[in-house]
């Protein structure tokens, strides 16, 4: 039997120490040993039973319950003051056969994989690579769990690929402690698995595009995500190039994403006419304190897999990874708190180490290009989703704020992602530019504004300049800003709450809520939500 260890606690923190946050109980579930229960589906269902048991305990005690993965989010999205449940030991992986697919499924069975919630991106990549497959995209690193990724909308910079949730084709949710509370959810327009497979998981099936898209980026509040069904693809290589280009050209390209007619060109990455190819990934780095008219850009191109790539291009993973000595950064931040005027000089001095260098081309698998990040210290990151046509305007507004009301110890970058179907995905524009500032957490002083104040001002200046935006759910922001969710998502925010209300009972909706949801006014339960919202639209 799967077992859960429950420990009384007083506090909890994120990996990047953005808390601490108060906590009553910390829970960690371990699966039954393989030797005692060799059938992975039996072990998966056994774990589902254990989760339902834990949900019943929480419900009976009128406690909230929230799962956490690798605690990478810097916002308080993962926090629940009553019960927090650690899922990383729940990492069953199930392959799918052709006989498991729905008759209308557009997918190849060898691309479909069922992943239990606690699988990390790194272990999923390893599992897929052993089958000649790959994830379609990941974040900049690989430590997040798959359920954590989709709940917070983790994205990379796959211009025509999208975020992690965009290759999810099915969700196995546990909505409560009763037998009918295990649900398998997928799109009716693109079903993946058949009813017989769902029956193996003891799940009732709902095929419904609207509901699926609402649950896809569920902010950890659409029930317990027990399993995620993904579509992988044949393994491929990525060819990474870093070049310095004119800042004006880099920003013009950000606004247009018209790579073919851009002066930014990698000689080896052109078509037969000599025009630049459209890359898999485009990223612009900007030191807002520098007056240089050039900036480094990162262009990554997708290539067919070649088993001899390491012999041809060398190992993409360095023998030893270079890093900036962390204590030095902390010392600089401490000095900055007293003398903020030195921040631009410090950022400039460190930019040699922080910004990517124009070095040789790196070729590797997705898992090698977006490799281990490790713990980067007490970090903050603010990340806004903007329609890419507003990229340069939004960047100017935010960098001006950072220079004029800061300075802030961080550095900007821009990445680009395809629109997501997730109802509350921050990749909501046809192509979303994620304008982000990453840096080291500092203490507020008389001479430097606080992170909270800075985050609030970022929202205000974007609103003043009438630039529509979203915010990355897992990053730092002024989440209590008045009417924020409505401003970002309009009617979709209400629609999301209606879907949630239709799917969950009122007591379970309260159990899966947290302070983060309340701050955003996304916790409301609509008892009159249309029950047909959760109809199964395809058998």
């Amino acid at each position: 039997m799967a077992t859960t260890k429950t420990t009384p606690r007083t506090r909890w923190n994120t990996l990047h120490k953005n808390g601490p946050f108060p906590l009553k109980f910390f829970l960690s579930t371990r699966l039954e040993k393989k030797s005692l229960m060799p059938d992975p589906i039996a072990r998966y269902n056994d774990a589902a039973g254990e989760i339902q048991k834990q949900l019943l305990i929480a419900k009976n005690q009128h406690h909230g319950f929230r799962s956490i993965g690798a605690r990478w989010s810097m916002s308080s999205i993962a926090h629940q003051k009553d019960r927090m449940h650690f899922t990383a030991h729940m990492n069953i992986k199930l392959s799918v056969h052709a006989t498991d697919l729905h008759p209308n499924s557009p997918y190849q069975s060898d691309n479909i994989h069922v992943l239990q919630c606690g699988n990390t991106v790194k272990e999923v990549s390893f599992y897929l690579e052993n089958r000649g497959k790959s994830l379609k995209a990941s974040g900049a690193s690989n430590g997040q769990t798959i359920a954590g990724c989709i709940s917070t909308g983790v994205h990379g910079s796959g211009i025509d690929v999208g975020s992690v949730q965009d290759y999810v084709v099915g969700l196995n949710l546990i909505l409560g402690p009763n037998p009918q509370d295990i649900v398998y959810l997928e799109r009716h327009s693109k079903p993946a698995l058949n009813n017989a497979f769902a029956t193996k998981l003891n799940a009732r099936v709902i095929r419904n595009d609207g509901l699926f898209n609402a649950a896809l980026v569920g902010l950890g509040s659409f029930g317990f995500i027990h399993g995620v069904v993904i579509e992988a693809e044949d393994h491929y290589l990525l060819s990474r190039h870093v070049i310095k280009v004119k800042k004006a050209d880099a920003l013009a390209l950000a606004d247009s994403l018209d790579f073919k007619n851009s002066p930014i060109k990698i000689p080896s990455q052109t078509d037969a006419q000599g025009n630049p190819l459209r890359p898999y990934h485009y990223k612009v780095y900007i030191n807002q304190y520098s007056n240089e008219d050039t900036v480094p850009v990162e262009l990554i191109y997708k290539k067919p897999f070649d088993p001899n790539y390491k012999q041809t291009f060398g190992d993409p993973i360095p023998f030893m990874k270079e890093f900036v000595y962390r204590d030095l950064i902390y010392l600089l931040v401490k000095i900055s708190e007293k003398f903020p005027r030195v921040i631009p000089k410090f950022v400039k001095a460190l930019s040699q180490s922080i910004l990517p260098k124009e070095d040789k081309v790196i070729v590797g698998k997705l898992s090698e290009i977006f490799w281990d990040a490790g713990y980067q210290g007490k970090a903050f990151a603010c990340s806004f989703g903007i329609d890419h046509t507003h990229s340069s305007k939004a960047l100017k507004v935010l960098t001006d704020l950072t220079k004029n009301e800061g300075p802030i110890p961080g550095i900007f970058a821009m990445r680009f992602i395809k629109q997501s179907d997730g109802l509350l995905s921050f990749a909501k524009f046809p192509f979303t530019c994620m304008v982000e500032i990453d840096g080291i957490i500092w203490e507020e002083s008389k001479k430097i504004i606080s992170l909270d104040q800075y985050a609030k001002r970022m929202i205000e200046v974007l609103q003043q300049h009438q630039i529509p935006f979203t915010i990355h759910w897992g990053k730092n922001a002024d989440w209590g800003f008045p009417n924020l969710a409505n401003h970002m998502f309009g009617a979709d925010a209400t629609k999301w709450m209606d879907y949630r209300s239709a799917l969950l009972s009122q007591d379970m909706a309260a159990l899966f809520s947290n302070e983060f949801l309340k701050k955003l006014n996304l916790h409301h339960y609509n008892a009159a939500a249309d029950p047909t919202l959760i109809d199964n639209l395809l058998n």
Binding site: K5, T7, R9, T10, R11, W12, N13, L15, K17, G19, P20, L23, F26, S28, L31, K34, P40, R43, I68, A70, R71, F86, A88, H89, N91, I92, K93, Q116, T120, K122, E123, F126, Y127, N142, G143, I317, F323, R326, D327, S367, E368, W371, D372, G374, Y375, Q376, G377
Partner: protein, 124 residues
């Protein structure tokens, strides 16, 4: 005068000896399914707030002992028994001055073993 110069040279020699014999090297497997995570430090209460280890959040285990090598011991390895996955992800070997001294003083019979390691996450 001469004695104090010798003392200084001796101090410098000892300083170099002590510091050159105190170091650690951490190695990790670059591919594979990744490290086992530590659900205790995930709670944060037991965790040192000042812990800035880049591998923070991973389940570190330690061996800190002195092994005695006999003529019959041959070259048998020290067995690590608590990796359920059966594989190591990270290993950090620490060399100390005391350990080096012990090795020299006992002609290699006693060896200080100070190792920290992280297992590979068990795959299901």
């Amino acid at each position: 005068m001469k004695a104090s110069r010798y003392a200084k040279v001796l101090c410098v020699f000892l300083f170099l000896l002590i510091f050159s014999s105190c170091y650690s090297v951490r190695m990790k497997v670059s591919n594979g399914p990744g490290p086992e995570l530590d659900d205790m430090t995930m709670e944060d209460e037991d965790e040192d707030e000042e812990n800035e280890d880049p591998a923070r959040g991973q389940l570190f285990r330690k061996i800190d002992t002195i092994i005695t090598v006999k003529t019959t011991t041959d070259e048998n390895p020290v067995n690590i028994r608590d990796c359920e996955s059966g594989a190591l992800h990270t290993i950090e070997y620490r060399s100390t001055f005391g350990g080096t001294l012990l090795y020299l003083a006992t002609f290699g019979r006693k060896r200080k073993l100070k190792v920290t390691y992280v297992c590979v996450k068990e795959q299901n």
